[in-house]
């Protein structure tokens, strides 16, 4: 395949997915959503029949950077198109933040084999750090505060390292569950952090520009969620790039080997605890960053927002996508976050239908929407 042709295939693929994304975010009416639910699988099936999916996959594998850049640009165009649609932008931002957390889980869960059922707790730590730091240290640039919130999350997660290294499998999972519940109770009984009634959070302000204002009219104006959507997009893209770099490097290779067989890797001189700790800290760092941006965007956080059920949602994003595949969390996050929202029209039955859809997907794609492929030791067609 010539380079130009590859680029063209990638661009077509990206445009199609951005169009699908647009439809998914924008459609509101009952029949439109119904149509979308029927049409989307049909479209994907047709694409598969037309060999376009394979074509696209090959192309994307050849030029990963080009794919990432064009996808980010595609979503940017989407954000511009939706600039007056507050709600669609809010949903898009939430999806992108959940993608960031899920990428963290992919490192922990998919690479190193550490099950983390407290993702939302680390997300919450990031959110609360953002709220507190932004309130008391107004002079510190907000970008630093976001970074610091991610670090706080990773550091508090470090408390769990010892028990998690001592245990394995289900027992390690139990520790994370306990931590999630512990954190929520701690926030509820502690008046310093607003108690059960929650805490107001100041919005982001970068270089004197308040994110809560509507978008500068020089750039065409738009919703105040637009800035957050772009920030979340950049964050998700950076997290994706980092995840991919980890996966491709000997970091990822070591983590994979620790996951597959800890004893065997140890006998080859791989320091298993070290890689587990690295994966755990990196994942929680991602969750903390996303939590910080989320808190600033929603302007209000309360312990009730960081339930065990939300941790389960995040784990199910990773599972539904296909464990260990960084790309897969994007469609999965979209389904898990946006679908229940689209089902608002059927009110109290919406979570029921949502559950059915998820079960159906796993019935036909038992190892997730896009299972992780075999590791590629060589990239490009030169090999």
């Amino acid at each position: 395949m010539s380079q130009l042709k590859t680029q063209l295939v990638i661009l077509i693929g990206i445009s199609l997915s951005v169009i699908a994304l647009y439809g998914f975010l924008y459609l509101e009416h009952e029949w439109e959503i119904g149509l979308l639910l029927v049409a989307l699988p049909v479209v994907i099936l047709l694409l598969k029949r037309a060999n376009m999916l394979i074509y696209y996959q090959k192309a994307a594998r050849l030029m990963p950077r080009f794919t990432l850049v064009s996808f980010v640009l595609g979503v940017l165009v989407l954000i511009l198109l939706l600039r007056h649609e507050h709600f669609a932008l809010l949903m898009l931002t939430t999806v992108l933040l959940y993608v960031t957390v899920s990428l963290g889980l992919t490192i922990q869960f998919g690479f190193a084999g550490l099950v983390n059922f407290a993702a939302i707790a680390f997300f919450g730590i990031g959110a609360y750090s953002m709220a507190v730091l932004n309130h008391y240290f107004h002079a510190v640039p907000d970008l630093l505060i976001i970074l610091f919130s991610g670090l706080t999350s990773a550091l508090l997660g470090a408390l769990l390292i010892l028990p998690i290294l001592r245990t394995r499998g289900h027992y390690a999972a139990l520790i994370t569950i306990a931590f999630g519940i512990l954190l929520r109770t701690f926030l509820e009984v502690n008046d310093v952090f607003g108690g059960p009634q929650g805490l107001k959070v100041d919005g982001l302000e970068i270089l004197g520009w308040d994110f809560a204002d509507s978008f500068p009219s020089v750039l065409g104006g738009g919703s105040f969620y637009m800035a957050y959507a772009i920030a979340a997009l950049l964050l998700a893209a950076a997290a994706y790039l980092l995840t991919r770099l980890i996966e491709a490097s000997w970091f990822g290779l070591n983590m994979d080997s620790v996951r597959l067989d800890e004893v065997a890797s140890a006998s080859f001189g791989i320091n298993a605890p070290r890689w587990k700790i690295t994966a755990f800290m990196a994942g929680n760092f991602f969750a903390g960053l996303a939590g910080a941006v989320y808190a600033a965007m929603s302007g209000f956080i309360a312990p009730a927002s960081f339930n065990f059920a939300d941790s389960l949602l995040l784990v199910s994003i990773v599972l539904l996508g296909g464990i260990g595949n960084a790309v897969a969390v994007i469609p999965a996050a979209l389904l898990i976050v946006v679908l229940p929202e689209k089902f608002q029209v059927i009110q109290e039955y919406r979570l029921l239908l949502f559950g059915i859809v998820v079960i159906l997907i796993l019935r036909f794609r038992p190892s997730g929407l896009m299972p992780r492929g075999l590791r590629q030791y060589f990239t490009g067609n030169s090999a």
Binding site: I19, L36, L46, N51, F87, Q197, G299, I301, A302
Partner: protein, 386 residues
């Protein structure tokens, strides 16, 4: 499988995509949103509220006098602040929605008030009780029909002064609940020139109150006000008797339970307490509401706050009938609502949008059960508090 692209299939895909995004929405009837928990642990309250709001809408649509047709857009906040902010944004960003009847859970309402303010969507809270929802901000969009602990203590202070009492001693627990009640009772009482001789903050787990009660005895108040829950209240009331204190015992909504009467026994006679809302059948329009509700065959009962959701929806419709379906006009009209008739009694919003004459029920214990003050022998004069 060959690697060739099959062009006809690609075209079909493109056509499908064009079809999918070529959809637009058309404005029709006037939309009002209802937001409450429709799924999850407290969904019973949310569904009851949803049905009641729905009832208000359909009654109005059937009436020949109404100028517009109305439609209820019900959204589920799951009683979670993050989901609440999402659906609030969804409703507020929808230009066809002109007003909202929103929230049963306080934490959700606290999170969404800023969203409504940002988008200028006038809303009436129908169930959440935290005072800060209306008093923690200056947003002109936020109103509330149901009462809070502020209203409860205002009614309590006014009622007790009417009964001829003037000197109080206060014991409250140091939780949000107890502290809040004390704060608002003190404020309401001093406005009405009652005196508080002494205040004692106690831990809800405290067992022995001899020290506090001995001091109170020396102060010689007429009434002991207790802000806290039944278990602590039981211990205080029982220990008062041991010290030979026969002051009137006045509690808050936290002691209105059978557990209090069971715990105190005979001493419970004549204990007073106040609570937000009222049993639906005791509401001014309760009978009519219950009848209309039952006539509709809803799957779920209206629950305690259903009548408030009905009243809020009805008020919004009244305002729309008067000023038209415009958010700003509706907001301005809601801000000046005074003595508006509703099934939960007249509604008057203060400068924060809080219903100041929110319904508070007065209870007294008579012969081992909680009796509405108006129905009791104390009100009719056959018995006296002292």
């Amino acid at each position: 499988m060959s690697d060739k692209l099959k062009l006809p299939n690609v075209f079909i895909v493109l056509i499908c995509c064009v079809f999918l995004i070529g959809c637009s929405d058309q404005p029709e009837t006037i939309k009002i949103t209802f937001i409450g928990p429709l799924t999850g642990g407290v969904s019973a309250g949310g569904l009851g509220g949803r049905n009641s709001a729905d009832l208000a809408i359909s009654l109005r649509n059937e009436s020949p006098d109404s100028n517009y047709k109305y439609e209820l857009v019900s959204l589920d906040d799951e009683c979670k602040p993050n989901i609440g902010v999402q659906v609030a944004t969804k409703a507020a960003a929808d230009k066809n929605i002109v007003a909202g009847v929103t929230h049963y859970c306080s934490a959700v309402a606290m999170g969404t008030v800023d969203v409504y303010h940002k988008f200028g969507l006038p809303v009436i809270v129908w169930g959440a009780v935290l005072p800060d929802i209306t008093y923690g901000n200056d947003h002109p969009e936020i109103h509330r029909v149901n009462g809070t602990m502020i209203n409860q203590n205002m009614v309590a202070a006014e009622f007790m002064i009417e009964q001829g009492f003037s000197k109080w001693a206060v014991i409250h627990d140091t939780t949000d609940y107890g502290k809040g009640h004390f704060k608002y009772f003190e404020k309401a009482l001093t406005e009405r020139s009652g005196t508080i001789l002494g205040t004692f903050g106690v831990n809800p787990d405290q067992q022995d109150f001899t020290a506090e009660l001995t001091k109170i005895k020396a102060l010689n108040p007429e009434v002991i006000y207790f802000g806290g829950l039944a278990p602590t209240g039981v211990r205080i009331r029982a220990q008062m008797d041991k010290l030979g204190m026969d002051q009137v015992f006045q509690g808050t909504s936290g002691i209105v339970s059978d557990a209090f009467i069971d715990g105190v026994g005979e001493l419970a006679e004549g204990v007073l307490a106040f609570r937000e809302g009222a049993p639906t059948e005791k509401l001014p329009g309760g009978k009519m509401f219950m009848q209309a509700y039952e006539a509709r065959d809803f799957n779920e009962p209206a629950e305690a706050y259903g009548a408030f959701a009905f009243a809020a929806t009805d008020l919004i419709i009244d305002v729309i009938e008067k000023v038209g379906p415009d958010r700003k006009l509706i907001r301005e009209e809601l801000n000046v609502i005074r003595e508006h008739e509703s099934i939960v009694g007249p509604i008057t919003f203060d400068s924060h949008g809080q219903n100041t004459i929110a319904l508070i029920t007065k209870y007294v214990i008579q012969d081992g059960s909680w009796v509405l003050w108006e129905d009791s022998e104390y009100a009719s004069g056959n018995r006296s508090l002292k």
